[in-house]
Amino acid sequence: MKKITIDPITRLEGHGKINIFLNDSGAVENVYFAIPELRGFEKFCEGRPADQVPQIVSRICGV
């Protein structure tokens, strides 16, 4: 099965890639969208003072 990889996907905020699998007749068999990024805001905001959290989470996405 042929695989076409679009890496990275561009002109958006964040990281992503797309794997497209083609079957023997050249038609799309399946497509996988991968997000190769985790920073862990869910965890590292724990323990930070509440009044500081808006400044921190504004860096989830700066776009």
Binding site: D7, T10, R11, H15, A34, F44
Partner: protein
């Protein structure tokens, strides 16, 4: 003379540095007259395969923002290093880990558990975790390896210049772009787009003798718009933070959180700030000093807000 070739890339980042570059607005047209952009995922459609096909040293200047959080960040950093004559660590994340570097207060397993098992919006009864390589019916797919620790750009490649800020201001970016285009960059190893003096030096607030009896949180006081924020008991990182941001936060009655990082020669920003605090606390006894200092909430997370991976601590145990 052939046009300069520029690249911009993000590792573990938010895109704020990219937007700060785009915030030079119509000057982007002037930039495009002087330089070709040959790689910049947020703005133009070049793929990693294009980057791989360039000759070594093809790119004149690469602005790399974002921390090194996973194997893809490191791989692309090394690839860009190979393809670039000059590498700029652009923004707090690339220089010292930045906000993503706060993850070094936590452990990888705990970050995964929170993100993929325990967060209120997650449904994952099968307890599936990301794995670098996954075999699907149609073939193999892969994602990068999530590292145990967040690293700085200079931990994985050689870096010529450091441009601080979260993000660097657009004015400073334009000044640095002009320096690049006109070939007037300072010696390698320099910090660019900033000043080598503390933020307090550019802060217009009135400063008197600092004698702090009590630290306060922002919601506990009505901030005097003219008086030094630290003297009002707010934890302001100005005394140990590099100037160059235009005092945007302190100008808006908000204490400096230290995003431009420490001054030249300072090995550890948190230690430097602890030293600064020790000199302004007005205590008559060690017990009173302890009491006053204990009012500073989350000192490690505050003093190393943008730079835990680049500090002497590097991570919490």
């Amino acid at each position: 003379m052939s046009k300069l070739k520029l690249a911009s890339y993000w590792g573990a980042a938010c895109g704020g540095c990219d937007v700060a570059i785009l915030d030079i607005h119509e000057k982007i047209v002037d930039l495009s007259n002087a330089a070709d952009i040959v790689f910049w995922p947020i703005a133009v459609d070049f793929k990693y395969s294009d980057l791989e096909a360039y000759e070594d040293g093809y790119i004149d200047v690469c602005l790399f923002h974002g921390a090194v959080r996973n194997s893809e960040n490191e791989h692309i950093a090394k690839l860009l290093r190979q393809k670039s004559k000059v590498m700029v660590a652009f923004g707090s994340c690339a220089i010292s880990g930045g906000i993503p570097g706060l993850a070094n207060f936590k452990k990888k397993d705990d970050i995964f558990a929170r993100a993929y098992f325990d967060s209120p919006s997650t449904q994952n009864k099968e307890k599936v975790l990301p794995v670098p390589v996954l075999q699907m019916p149609e073939g193999e797919i892969d994602i990068p390896e999530f590292y145990k620790d967040v690293k700085c750009l200079a931990d994985v490649v050689d870096v010529e210049y450091y441009m601080p800020g979260c993000p660097p201001t657009s004015e400073q970016i334009w000044n640095v772009v002009l320096a690049i285009v006109t070939g007037q960059l300072p010696p390698a190893g320099s910090f660019v787009g900033c000043e080598d003096r503390a933020l307090c030096n550019t802060c217009k607030r009135t400063k008197t003798d600092k004698k702090i009896k009590k630290f306060v949180r922002p919601h506990e006081i009505i901030v005097d718009p003219d008086l030094c924020l630290l003297e009002q008991g707010l934890v302001c990182m100005g005394p140990v933070t590099r100037a160059g941001c235009g005092n945007q936060c302190t100008g808006a009655n908000t204490p400096c959180s230290g995003c431009y990082g420490p001054l030249s020669g300072v090995v550890d920003m948190g230690a430097k700030y602890i030293s600064a605090l020790a000199s302004v606390v007005d205590a008559d006894s060690p017990e009173e000093a302890d009491k006053i200092i204990s009012e500073v909430l989350d000192p490690a997370g505050t003093f190393y807000r943008y730079g835990l991976p680049g500090s002497l601590l590097r991570r919490a145990k």
